[in-house]
């Protein structure tokens, strides 16, 4: 059995498969369920300063197997109510990473400190939601903004900070480099690609918000390319995200330079059991490809490059 353990941002993960933010993250029991299903760690729904109901439905438009369009609108119960959900997940033994979103560097820093107090192992910053006014990509769209937000958060918490960056940029790798300069211990890439679906008979966008974000297998090659480019620009570990549904998908990201990955949309297509299946298949596939441990495959597609320091 190939060794699946990895070290990301100082965290020792039993396997590289993280539950992506926004999936199964509203209730602590769901986070615990993802952990029991085999995830190497679980990332909470992105939490803000105050409760948000998100956009009206339709908030998702599923495509056949290849993709998923969504604009949830960052629904969350707010940082005052959410900690008990984290407590539930931690009580089940889950390694929990807290995701937060803010409108300013100060708000990010304050939220990160609040969520750190719940005992999360790390904080992931949502700098990349493509469809929320005043948040996400709108505050994390330039290297200067990313660096300033990450720097403010790093000053306010002790736990490692992971910056989740947007692919809706001319230079995602430049955003990752800015996160590293700001003190991030890892970057995750990518969030969803800005996207839209239109109902022809009704002559209007399907999603209530109009614009949304595309996830699922369709965006995997985009994510792999982003990770590839980021690997050439930063020394911190990369968490690959986007369209992962098989062990080969995981290893594509790993060979492009990812140390760990996030799995999200596959949960809609295959259920939460996808984590156990990926974990089991990953070990065998690594051996077939001649690797004793997953860490040996990190960046393997970049000839002559060594794995990044954790």
């Amino acid at each position: 059995m190939a060794d699946l353990g990895v070290r990301v941002a100082g965290l020792e993960l039993r396997n590289p498969l993280l539950l992506a933010s926004g999936i199964w993250g509203e209730s602590g029991e769901s986070l615990a369920g993802a952990w029991r299903a085999g995830a190497g760690g679980v990332i909470t729904k992105s939490i803000g300063s105050v409760p948000r109901t998100g956009y009206p439905n339709p908030t998702v438009e599923p495509y056949e197997r290849w993709g998923m369009l969504n604009a949830m609108g960052l629904p969350n119960p707010g940082i005052d109510e959410y900690p008990r959900e984290i407590e539930t997940a931690r009580a089940a033994g889950a390694l929990v990473i807290g995701s937060v979103f803010g409108a300013t560097a100060e708000e990010f820093a304050a939220l990160a400190a609040r969520i750190e107090a719940t005992g999360v192992a790390a904080v992931e910053l949502n700098l990349s939601c493509p469809h929320a006014e005043g948040f996400g990509t709108e505050v994390g769209g330039t290297p200067d903004d990313v660096e300033a937000i990450v720097r403010a958060v790093v000053r306010s918490v002790r736990v490692p900070v992971i910056a989740k960056i947007t692919p809706n940029s001319a230079d995602p790798a430049g955003l990752a480099a800015a996160a590293e300069r700001g003190g991030a211990r890892a970057v995750s890439a990518i969030n969803t690609l800005r996207a839209m679906a239109i109902d022809l008979r009704l002559r209007r966008p399907v999603l209530s918000h109009g614009l949304g974000g595309l996830s699922g297998p369709a965006i995997r090659p985009v994510g792999v390319a982003c990770v590839w480019q980021i690997y050439d620009r930063v020394k911190i570990p990369i968490v690959g995200v986007g369209g992962i549904g098989s062990a080969d998908d995981v290893l594509e990201y790993v060979m492009a330079g990812a140390t760990a990955v996030e799995v999200g949309t596959a949960v809609a297509f295959d259920g939460i059991a996808v984590f156990g299946r990926l974990r089991d298949a990953l070990s065998g596939r690594l051996e077939e490809l001649g690797f004793d441990r997953l860490t040996d495959a990190i960046g393997a597609a970049h000839a002559g490059r060594s794995a990044p320091a954790a």
Binding site: G22, I23, W24, G25, E26, S27, E29, S30, A32, G33, K45, P51, R52, T53, G54, P56, N57, P58, T59, V60, P62, M68, N70, M72, P75, N76, P77, G78, E81, Y82, D199, R201, L202, R204, V206, S208, G264, T265, V267, A268, G271, I272
Partner: protein, 254 residues
């Protein structure tokens, strides 16, 4: 698709009928979209044949707007989603509170179609709100009613009807849908006699695909693990009948 028929069932409920080809089993639900407004999960109240239907109670703004839909108006439908009732029951007691009858009527019809016997305990605030009373009766089912105001049948809770009925007649199963406190009581009455009790459960929904977590209920997601649950999977082990979550994911007590 365009709505073909609009039927006012009771003062608070309206049925929308529309052509929709996919096969739907009793218990399953669809996401029905009112363009420009919102999209709601709705149990299918007419599940067989090419013309499907949902019966909507005026609860919030969107459900009231759905009640203003006219024949020829457009709605969006996706689904069906969720699991179903197992219609292979010989002697079934249905316990419906208010609009809970919407999902139980096609379920009772499926049991009758297989030759099973059905009794229906139907509860509502007042006589005019007894949903699908005639439809159940047309099945040949015995229907006993309870109303909060005593305008028909037993004055009080439908669970009082159930308690008396279980004393005098033997059933193989009890299916119930309505307020969760009512369903919890029905489960206790059924358990006391060793009867399997099955719930149809409602939660706030967004994706309906088992992904967004809006409909989390204990370790389950109502959209894919439900909406039909054996009572013992929910009672005690989850927040059933204690709280639900709103659109922001905040816990809201019943």
């Amino acid at each position: 698709m365009r709505v073909t028929d609009v039927v006012r069932e009771t003062p608070s409920t309206v049925t929308l009928r529309f052509p929709y080809a996919p096969a739907i089993d009793p218990g399953q639900f669809v996401m029905i979209w009112l363009p420009g407004d919102d999209e709601l999960p709705m149990s299918v109240s007419y599940a067989s044949g090419p013309s499907k239907g949902v019966t909507i109670k005026g609860m919030g703004a969107t459900s009231r707007h759905f009640q203003a839909v006219r024949p020829g108006d457009w709605v969006g439908i996706r689904g069906p989603y969720g699991n179903r009732f197992d219609p292979t029951v010989r002697r079934l007691l249905v316990v419906a509170g208010g609009s809970g009858a919407a999902v139980l009527a096609p379920a009772a019809e499926a049991v009758r179609a297989r030759g099973g016997d059905v009794g229906v305990a139907l509860g509502a605030t007042t006589r005019a709100e007894l949903l699908f009373r005639d439809r159940f009766a047309a099945l040949g089912a015995t229907v006993e009613v309870a109303t909060d105001d005593g305008s028909d049948g037993t004055r009080g809770f439908v669970t009082e009807v159930v308690a008396r009925w279980l004393e005098r007649e033997r059933f193989d199963a009890v299916w119930t849908c309505g307020p969760e406190v009512m369903m919890e009581k029905v489960a206790r009455l059924g358990a006391a006699r060793g009867l399997p009790v099955v719930f149809a459960v409602e939660r706030h929904m967004k994706c309906a695909l088992g992904m967004c977590d809006a409909c989390a209920l204990g370790p389950f997601h109502v959209c894919v693990d439900g909406p039909v649950f054996p009572a013992e999977r929910l009672l005690g082990a989850t927040e059933f009948a204690r709280f639900h979550r709103d659109a922001a994911g905040r816990r809201r007590p019943f």
